[in-house]
Symmetry: C2
Subunit: 414 residues, 2 copies
Amino acid sequence: MAYRELITPLRTIMTPGPVEADPRVLRAMSTPILGQFDPAFTHIMNETMEMLRQVFQTKNHWSFPIDGTSRSGLEAVLTSVLAPGDRVLIPIFGRFGHLLAEIAERNGAEIHIIETEWGQVFDQDEIIQELKRVKPKVLAIVHGETSTGCMQPLNKVGKACHELGILSIVDAVATIAGTEVEVDEWQLDAVIGGTQKCFSVPSGMAPITYNERIEKILAARKKVERGVRTLEDNADVLQPIRSNYFDLSQLQDYWGPRRLNHHTEATSMLYALREGARVILEEGLEERFARHRLHEKAIMEGIKAMGLTLFNDVPWKRPMVTCVNIPEGIDGEAVRSMLLEQFGIEIASSFGPLHGKIWRIGAMGYSCRKENVFAVLAGLEASLIRNGAAVIRGEAIQAALDVYEAAGDEQLLS
Amino acid sequence: MAYRELITPLRTIMTPGPVEADPRVLRAMSTPILGQFDPAFTHIMNETMEMLRQVFQTKNHWSFPIDGTSRSGLEAVLTSVLAPGDRVLIPIFGRFGHLLAEIAERNGAEIHIIETEWGQVFDQDEIIQELKRVKPKVLAIVHGETSTGCMQPLNKVGKACHELGILSIVDAVATIAGTEVEVDEWQLDAVIGGTQKCFSVPSGMAPITYNERIEKILAARKKVERGVRTLEDNADVLQPIRSNYFDLSQLQDYWGPRRLNHHTEATSMLYALREGARVILEEGLEERFARHRLHEKAIMEGIKAMGLTLFNDVPWKRPMVTCVNIPEGIDGEAVRSMLLEQFGIEIASSFGPLHGKIWRIGAMGYSCRKENVFAVLAGLEASLIRNGAAVIRGEAIQAALDVYEAAGDEQLLS
């Protein structure tokens, strides 16, 4: 049986990820392969580390990607830091807090959880109180919850962890390169980003960064692979890291000057990550964050002008995801299918307690453009009317236009 | 600081990997992103599974990629199968046998090792004797050793494992799509392939396949993530899999009809893998294996005609890697550097006991072409002369031409 050429429909992707990749990133991936120890390639590795430092707003030496999807970055950091029996506090405000708990649990850590309702976040003082009570080795927390469109402030928590001698590990997969993630300013010890969201690079790499406090733990757990071990490498380690693939102490030797063979770096994905970071730095972090806020506002105003209500119209709203309450009596999946099939536009449903109750409309990275905002508002209004919903007609795009005009922004349609 | 556009030198990559990707594969990666649950994308996932089954020569239902480099596939299978205390036998004949031991050890397995000198492989009866003595749950073994250019016959071992109630897990990273890996015929239970070698797809995915015997173990260890768990999912599991990312029982639910959200599939890498598999199946497995053998012969004859000797001129030679003994008094790294810098050709050194003693010349996948064979022979001869080696001049390419003429093969220069 013969398989046809890869032909895909062109989509307008307005979900919380994966989103459209910048065309420059897609082109970069067509670059021919280089060997992993070719000086031309190790130069690209070093440049990518430099650029990632800037995206993470950090001076941390270690800033490099894990070769896997976003959760590979979470698992690499948690597995490398947490030994069995280590105590970890995980405040949960949505699905991805559960993922942190799941990964920590599988590493044999002693899990302490505080939970709040989906749609809420924590008062930082509440977290700090709990840190003082539980005295964990690690605080693991999500910055932006993809499931609820909410964002946890972290500027006080990071500092408190430093004062209390606790390590903070932060899942910034859904926020990096779309809104402020100030690793050094907030004193976060390890931060994991994602590529397939505001970074606008295809899924398949997880940029991470961490500081000397984390490095110290790695040094104590370091065990060099027998196949490449030399005499000065310690072979007897008390609590070796449970994974080889996610062993940050080994990955450091691969990304560092020793260039000790570990995996074969994912060549084309690294090309993509480098180009994605270059696009971000050329735009400028502040300008990029402002762009995400502007289009967010246009979407929010458009949705409200249609007569719909927002699930996350709160001060802790994640600026790149707008969650819309599905109107009473409307089948949310029927509307989503119509949007995809008739308009080629993808929006998302949600998980767990929010499944069937909200739609999530993302505007991230390259997908975060004026024409995409107009397209999703027009398509949603038409699909709702077609599904019998009593929406206010013709006002959504007018409201979005008002937002753009008020911002005086002419250059946005690229 | 501004970073320049991604510009890379064009290389002729004659290493054991990563090798040149087929230009069709590179182009496929430029295809725009699809959402992970877009029907157009899940169709691509299903097609890729179908094609992988054919490449693995198996009827196994489960044949899909792990999102990571080759060793992520090894770790996914070993971590999902081996619980702490499980006994595993690992015959080691090079560096990558040590990697299997390392991964198994980090999972708390009880490791039994038999070793042979680098450059040798095992008599299958010796392995079978050891299986009977040790009575392990699992035999983990490398098929083609990248470090030594040797290949372990497995046709009797797989059958013996079935008779003894032992599971066989085989690292075929370095052999898949370049020589016979007959998963069903040899009765192998789980096999891990690589993309960056004979598959000619960039590093970053690890295709795996496994049968019902493995599936049964996964079912007993299955634990659905709390964020997406429903009431019928078992939450109390005796020996849960230690990794979330590598949990094959969860990956099955993502690749199967339930489409339970796990990671976000690496979109562009999956496009690449699909196109790579399509290229392989269009060429035909038998034709592809024959092509690898032909160019191997041309390289071997060319090297010998130069007056050099081979490290792996043995019946158990891996047909896509030719290991050359570095002549006495010659600095192997100086020759390699000259090849790269003057000719843009990359060949490899080796690891451990073979470091500094051999060069490894690969001819794999898209790199396995007549013009590449001529280039590497010409470049190596010239670089050796320039480094003062007493080689026989002008005979290497003549010997390779003889091989091609004897094969009567005219259509090879594509």
